[in-house]
Amino acid sequence: MAKKNQSILPEKGQKKPVSQSYWSLVWWKFKKNKMAIVGGIILIIFYVCMVGIAEFIAPYDLEHASNFTDASPQAIHFIDKQGKFHFQPLTYGLVKKIDEVKRVRTFVEDPNSQQYPISLFVKGDPYKLFGLIPMSLHLFGIKSTDPQATIFIMGTDSLGRDYFSRIIYGGRLSLLIGLIGQFLTIILGSVLGAVSGYYGGATDMIVQRSTEFLAAFPDIPLFMALAAAIPSYFSPIAVYFMLTVILAFVRWGGLARQVRGLILSLREREYALAAKSSGASDYRVMFRHLLPGTMSHIIVIATLSIPGMILAETALSWLGLGLRPPLTSWGVLLQEAATIRSIRYSPWLLWTVPFIIVTVLAFNMLGDGLRDAMDPYSGR
């Protein structure tokens, strides 16, 4: 054991205090895991760009409809038609094209049209950053006021709205539902798990039977049935809130079981007995002394189950049982993309899928790293 500790502690230990806290050991071990760091960075970027400053990152407003309906993605050119290299990349204008084979009308790039250089920090659709600061600056765009000057790097949908902007905005609701839903799950699961493990007896019995019941109910069908029961006259925000509550309500069982198991062993420890014999109330013993001891487990379980929540929202909205327009989430975007017709005629609408997959993978990478790091005393 002593030998292992030496390898874990920093070598130049003279300046630092010799005994490291648990969390600093966790951080120390977490830092060494490249995959987890990459996952964490991806998630920070996603959350900042989509939840925080989506309005700034997206070149257009969510509902900014242009005349270019079903336009295919515009490439960003560094080398123009004449073969000249431009340090400042450019796009070409769009032109209407009737596809004789598929019998549809789309817009495609026209290399003979004018060139529009892309610049950073361009004034565009006005918005309020964080809902407060009025701004009109966007990360990138085209300065020209010509109606032909557009930048649709992932094409447009059937109303001519920039799909990249919509994905960025859609990420806000999808990513938030994972966090908020998971937060509710943690509260519900850890409180019920703690109470069930601490008191035992009838309380334990009731909580355990409910988790078993939830486990026996196939979860996606349960989500669907509950989501279908949300009345259609609810406002979009109320639907969003209800959906979050539903996700949390269905998923708390697994966490409660784990917390219960941990509390069962922790409550027999000396410090818990000490707290109790010095007159601490049940409430205090449970939430001040025991629950913090399960925190590392809760964080790991939570991180690993956020992707499940995001996917559940995506699946529900995609099937038309969850969020509905005008709310825009990745699932709502998929609704339009995931038909045979749209895959055939406007396959760029599937750009949502890689975003979802990257998010899910990043959460798995981060969670995996956390799981290893939360047990810093093990040799691995």
Binding site: M224, A229, P231, Y233, T314, L319, L321, L334, V360
Partner: protein, 333 residues
């Protein structure tokens, strides 16, 4: 053993009854909340929009025919009582017995689930074993990476991407379970062969998530087992390497996988393949269920929920029995 099975079946029956009641209640919710409606309110609106004068009258006849005029508990008991007798009620939308609509789809759901299960195990076990035996080799690293990606890859999104490739690059219109000429044909050997030819694509897609997880668990378990004294002893007796690994180590390392099969893998397969079926439009109960939920077709949706639950509980029971059979140390009480 027998008493254990009987007890488990009894427990499963209680669960199914509970699920059916709660499920029925949830499906009934839209008509219980103020301002909400059921299938008939939707139908009434569409009839009125068409300018049908006798709309109200028609709806009332439907209401009596479907038994929706009775109080909630009477409706539930009536439906559940008939369910046991094999009558699952009428589908509002198709105005046909649910039994006729669901019959063949249920078989296909089970076929797809079993196929997915087989694909998962056939891929996961050899790869997991290889990756444990050749730990840190190049092959191990490739397998570990692939399994990690597979674990995070949601089946229905993968199905969408595959549909994209099939439509855009291969110019295939549909990925079903049968070729055109067999869709409505009666069962024959040719149809069976045709099914097998088509089945592997959705089975492989539904299997991806589960396979990723199983490979990782198999690798971890086998690594733990390979370090144990009985493996050393087997080697010391001069057994061949493959015998030591497959007959001694894998035999023990596989037990936790069977536990996972019941508790995690099977539920995931049932719900995962339901979503995949919706994307690929396969004739399983998944698409039917979603459709009935959208239309508030209550008896149909309720029947689907019950069958999902039964499949799940039967899967759990079979996994537990298999564990007892594979690992004789386990005594079922």
């Amino acid at each position: 053993m027998l008493s254990y099975i009987i007890r488990r079946i009894g427990y499963a029956i209680i669960m199914v009854v509970l699920v059916s009641f709660v499920g029925f209640l949830i499906l009934k919710l839209p008509s219980l909340v103020p301002g909400g409606g059921d299938f008939l309110t939707q139908k009434l609106a569409s009839l009125r929009a068409r300018g049908d004068r006798s709309a109200e009258q028609q709806i009332e006849t439907y209401r009596v025919r479907f038994g929706l005029d009775k109080p909630f508990l009477v409706q539930y008991i009536g439906w559940a009582g008939n369910f046991i007798k094999g009558d699952f009620g009428l589908s509002f939308e198709y105005e046909k017995p649910v039994k006729d609509l669901i019959g063949e789809r249920l078989t296909m759901t089970i076929v797809l689930a079993v196929a997915t299960l087989i694909v998962t195990w056939v891929i996961a076990i050899p790869l997991g074993v290889y990756s444990a035996v050749r730990q840190y080799s190049f092959g191990d690293q490739v397998i570990t990476t692939i399994s990690f990606i597979g674990l995070g890859m949601p089946g229905f999104l993968l199905a969408l991407l595959i549909l994209f490739v099939a439509i855009v690059y291969l110019n295939m219109e549909v990925i079903g379970l049968f070729s055109q000429k067999y869709i409505d044909a009666p069962w024959s050997f040719g149809k069976f062969v045709d099914l097998m030819k088509h089945l592997w694509v959705p089975a492989l897609i539904s299997a991806v998530t589960g396979t990723g997880g199983l490979i990782r668990i198999m690798r971890g378990n086998l690594l733990d087992t390979l370090g144990q004294p009985f493996v050393e002893a087997a080697r010391a007796r001069g057994l061949k390497n493959w015998q030591v690994i497959w007959k001694h180590a894998v035999r023990i390392a596989i037990n936790p996988l069977i536990v996972i099969l019941g508790s995690e893998a099977f539920p995931n397969i049932i719900t995962g393949s339901a979503l995949v079926s919706i994307v690929l439009n396969l004739p399983t109960i998944g698409p039917l269920f979603v459709d009935s939920l959208r239309k508030l077709d209550m008896y149909m949706a309720g029947t689907c929920i019950i069958f999902f639950t039964i499949l799940l509980l039967v899967g759990n029971l079979l996994a537990d029995l298999m564990l007892a059979w594979v690992d004789p140390r386990i005594r079922l009480e």
